[in-house]
């Protein structure tokens, strides 16, 4: 009997237990009965201070060092009503591309002399450009007076780096940029491959003055070992700088690697036979052994901001900030030159004074590009991602802004509004603001908004952010805050 009772009891218990209602059933009944202990507010009246700051140094050879070189280079220039004149010159070493010798005869002796035909610059744009492509652009080629070398301890070459070079160009040319068309290699016609020597139509091919090419051919014909030995070649030709003309209206990107940039020397021999020799631009790399040479290339950014409406040339030191109040309530972002917008939200901690405590459900920084400062053809909104860094009084980039899981956050462009010009950027600051509410912040702490560390030396995008306190388009922090009563 006792056993029976035990069994009965346990089974009754088991039966009832298995019938219990699911704890997480959703139901709405009773929702009017229960008081809430919190209120949720959307607050967007925080003071948001902004300023423009400038990086001292922007790596243009690769990031974080020469072992991760950029595989494209920026070249050209444009005039911008807001940012002034911006130009990029391209410095590079030039490879010998293998021994350049006379053509072999029937006895396999290299003694058939060459006749110079032409010297051609070949480069492939990579479709990215900034500025006006409808105007004619010029380019000039100058020999460097010194070898390019990487000083000890330096990670790479910076945008302000220059190397002495000949005033007189050894070549120059004019062209129209067709960034898309010129970016394509045309290696075949139908099924038929075009021999390399016949290719004349793809890329940007610019014939330059003969003198330099003629000199090389003369050296080949006289069996000068400058054209056999890479070390002697490097001594003979330290490298070159490609300079845009002062009237250029577009900055664009050349591919490095394959298809790459080169100087090609066409020649004839034995009457009418044709040949060519390439002097390629090799992507930056350090010297790997005694018998090799290092190769370097980088862009030098020059910006003349003296005549800009907001006199942006005032910023010199990285630790300075040019407050938006002094620049018509604007903040500036520019790749290459290294402008970042610095944003401070000094009073956000006041949220802690509401209620007993509270928490941020969502906090978004919203900003608008200045109306009229961009268009759809020439000065477009940035195509590169806009990164955000946590910064301090000295404008150091302390850390990338991340969400709670540690993934980096960037500004998102929202353009779903009816009015075309009312697209805005938003940055999710939920985690950042919750962090400030918990840990506090220094008065000078803030955020740097601009292009990423990794790419700022390789982007020409720019943007102007509006921050007029009286405008609907000012920078705003929209925070959905739960107040615990």
């Amino acid at each position: 009997m006792r056993k029976l009772i035990t069994i009965l009891f346990v089974s009754v218990l088991g039966f009832f237990t298995s019938c219990n209602s699911d704890t997480f059933q959703e139901h709405e009944i009773g929702d009017n009965l229960i008081d809430k202990s919190t209120e949720v507010h959307l607050i967007d009246t925080f003071t948001v201070q902004s300023a423009t700051v400038k990086l001292d140094s922007v790596l243009t050879s690769g990031y974080p060092d020469i072992s991760r070189p950029y595989t494209n280079i920026l070249f050209g220039g444009y005039h911008d009503d807001h940012f002034g004149d911006v130009t990029s010159e391209f410095y590079t070493t030039l490879s010998l591309g293998g021994a350049f010798e006379m053509v072999a005869d029937i006895n396999n002796k290299k003694n058939i002399p060459l006749q110079f035909d032409s010297l051609v610059f070949i480069g492939f744009p990579d479709t990215r450009y900034y500025g006006d492509t409808l105007q004619e652009q010029t380019i000039s080629f100058h020999k460097l007076n010194k070898e390019i070398y990487l000083p000890n301890g330096q990670k790479g070459f910076y945008g302000h780096h220059t190397i002495a070079n000949d005033d007189v160009a050894f070549g120059s040319s004019a062209f129209y940029l067709k960034p898309r068309k010129q970016s394509v290699e045309i290696k075949t016609i139908g099924d038929k491959a075009i021999p390399e020597i016949e290719r004349k139509r793809d890329g940007l091919r610019l014939r330059i003055a003969d003198a330099f090419g003629q000199d090389i051919v003369n050296r080949v014909n006289s069996n000068d070992d400058t054209l056999h030995n890479i070390f002697k070649w490097r001594k003979f030709f330290n490298g070159m700088v490609l300079k845009p003309g002062s009237g250029n209206s577009v900055m664009f990107s050349f591919k490095l690697g394959d298809p790459g940039m080169k100087l090609r020397l066409y020649f004839t021999y034995s009457g009418s036979k044709k040949g060519y020799h390439d002097f390629p631009v090799v992507i930056s790399r350090n010297r790997s052994s005694e018998s090799t040479l290092p190769y370097y290339n980088f862009s030098n950014f020059i910006s003349d901001k003296t005549s800009t409406p907001q006199d942006l040339g005032r910023i010199v030191e990285e630790t300075e900030e040019l407050k938006s109040e002094e620049t018509d309530n604007l903040a500036f972002i520019q790749g290459g030159i290294g402008f970042y917008a610095k944003v401070k939200i000094p009073y956000v901690e006041n949220l802690n004074n509401l209620g007993v405590t509270g928490g941020v459900l969502k906090s978004e920084l919203i900003f608008y590009p200045l109306e009229g400062s961009f268009d759809n053809s020439i000065f477009r909104l940035p195509s590169s991602a806009i990164s955000v860094y946590v910064t301090n009084r000295d404008n150091n980039r302390v850390a990338a802004l991340t969400d709670s899981r540690g993934s980096a956050l960037s500004a998102v462009y929202n353009n779903y509004t009816e009015h075309k010009n009312e697209g805005y950027y938003s940055i999710d600051l939920t985690s950042y603001v919750n962090g400030i509410l918990t840990n506090g912040q220094d008065f000078e702490d803030g955020l740097l908004i601009g292009f990423s560390y990794e790419n700022i030396g390789n982007t020409f995008d720019r943007m102007i952010i509006e921050n007029d306190p009286g405008s609907d388009f000012r920078i705003r922090l929209k925070t959905t805050y739960v107040v615990q009563n």
Partner: protein, 427 residues
């Protein structure tokens, strides 16, 4: 000391009972089965939904207990009755409650099933005039989960607010009954009130936002209180009348309250506060009577008043209201001791109650009423009694857009006896 010799069974029983007691403690106090003892949104208020702390006999009679006295029943609502439990037996009582409820509001309704172990108790006679018992049972329970859409002030979007209540308070009771004279018995319950009432409020922006705001309050009770009781019995020929009374002073029960706020996207807890203080169990009194006619018929009624109004939880005056409860019930024991038919061996019970409740929501008292039916089924060899009670009732009202809870509550309760104290005439 006692002029008896213990049966060898004692040792077996003690082990078994201890095991059951520990099991019961686990079931009642922990979330072993992740169960809620209630699903009522009204459990949000006060200390939660008050659990009825009565045995299967009383549950079948509308809760009547003050004037109830039987030698084979541990009536802990009136500990004075313990003075007359059967002296040769060790009493063991375990009860389970299963509540089917339907919540109604407007034209919406929802069903819930809640199971809980409603009590474990054992007791015995220490001396001819003194009986004692130990028990554990739930005192109050929280079990609501409500999701509501709510506005964001200054925004067109909404938030979803989830209000969640869980846990409850339990009581560990040491009951004592002493017979002072032939007519009068006094009793006292010493009660350790323990447990954890947890309420949380989660807020999230509607539509896939990942950040969850959570405010949470835990009331952790660890305190003592007591109540006093008496029974006074007179016999008039075939009739026996028994008056019962109960008094409980307002006592602040020691407790700890932990309030915390966290936001899911930052690891740190934003706010945490731990308070020590007390919450009140109310001054209460109850009175009842029980009338026996012969061996078979019993009829009784109870009235209880609990002064919740003005009680405090951590120095904050609650907005609870005074509670009145009225019960009436009767019992017919068909067994004349010689019955052979099963139906003839059983005890039949019925009753009803009306309870004003201790909460007031939106100007409405959340009251309850119910009718009950029950059976007492004796086990073979006088090993005990299986009591089944069925209650049909309703809490709250549909008017003013309130919630009405219609429920059926089944209580199954085993009264088991072990013969402990036997004086054998022949060894």
């Amino acid at each position: 000391m006692w002029n008896v010799r213990m049966n060898i069974n004692f040792f077996n029983s003690t082990g078994k009972i201890t095991a059951l007691f520990v099991l019961g403690l686990l079931l009642i106090t922990s979330n072993v089965f992740s169960q809620n003892n209630t699903s009522s949104p009204y459990s949000y208020f006060g200390l939660g939904e008050r659990m009825q702390n009565i045995n299967g006999n009383s549950a079948a009679m509308g809760g009547v207990s003050y004037g109830y006295k039987r030698g084979d029943v541990l009536n802990l609502s009136n500990p004075a009755s313990l003075s007359s439990i059967d002296s040769l037996k060790f009493h063991f009582n375990i009860g389970t409650t299963f509540k089917f409820s339907k919540l109604n509001q407007g034209d919406k309704s929802d069903h819930f099933n809640d199971f809980n172990l409603s009590r474990i108790a054992f007791g015995f006679k220490v001396s001819p005039r003194y009986g004692t018992a130990l028990s554990i049972s739930p005192y109050s329970s929280l079990g609501y989960e409500i999701n509501k859409r709510d506005e964001i002030l200054g925004d067109s979007r909404s938030v979803i607010r989830s209000l969640l209540g869980s846990g409850g308070l339990n009581q560990f009771v040491w009951s004592n009954g002493v017979q002072l004279s032939k007519d009068l018995s006094l009793g006292v319950n010493g009660i350790y009130l323990f447990g954890n009432n947890t309420r949380s409020e989660d807020v999230v922006i509607e539509g896939g936002a990942s950040t969850v705001y959570r405010g949470k309050t835990e009331l952790i009770s660890k305190g003592l209180y007591f109540n006093l009781a008496l029974q006074y019995e007179r016999t008039f020929g075939d009739y026996k009348i028994n008056f019962g009374g109960m008094y409980q002073p307002n006592i602040g029960v020691d407790a700890k309250r932990i309030t915390s706020v966290s936001v899911s996207n930052s690891a740190a807890i934003k706010f945490e506060d731990e308070d020590r203080g007390t919450f009140d169990v109310p001054e209460s009194f109850g009175a009842g009577f029980g009338l026996n006619k012969g061996k078979h018929f019993w009829f009784g009624g109870d009235y209880t008043h609990e002064k919740w109004k003005g009680t405090r939880i951590f120095d904050e005056v609650t907005d609870l209201v005074n509670r009145d409860k009225f019960s009436l019930g009767m019992e017919y024991n068909a067994n004349d001791g010689y019955a052979r038919k099963f139906l003839k061996k059983m005890t039949y019970r019925m009753g009803g109650f009306y309870d004003t409740g201790y909460i007031k929501v939106g100007g409405n008292n959340i009251d309850s009423y119910g009718l009950s039916l029950g059976l007492g089924i004796p086990m073979a060899q006088q090993k005990g009694m299986l009591n089944i009670a069925l209650e049909f009732g309703s809490t709250g009202t549909l008017s003013n857009n309130m919630v009405r809870e219609d429920f059926t509550r089944i209580t199954i309760d085993f009264n088991l006896f072990e013969t402990w104290f036997v004086k054998r005439k022949y060894q």
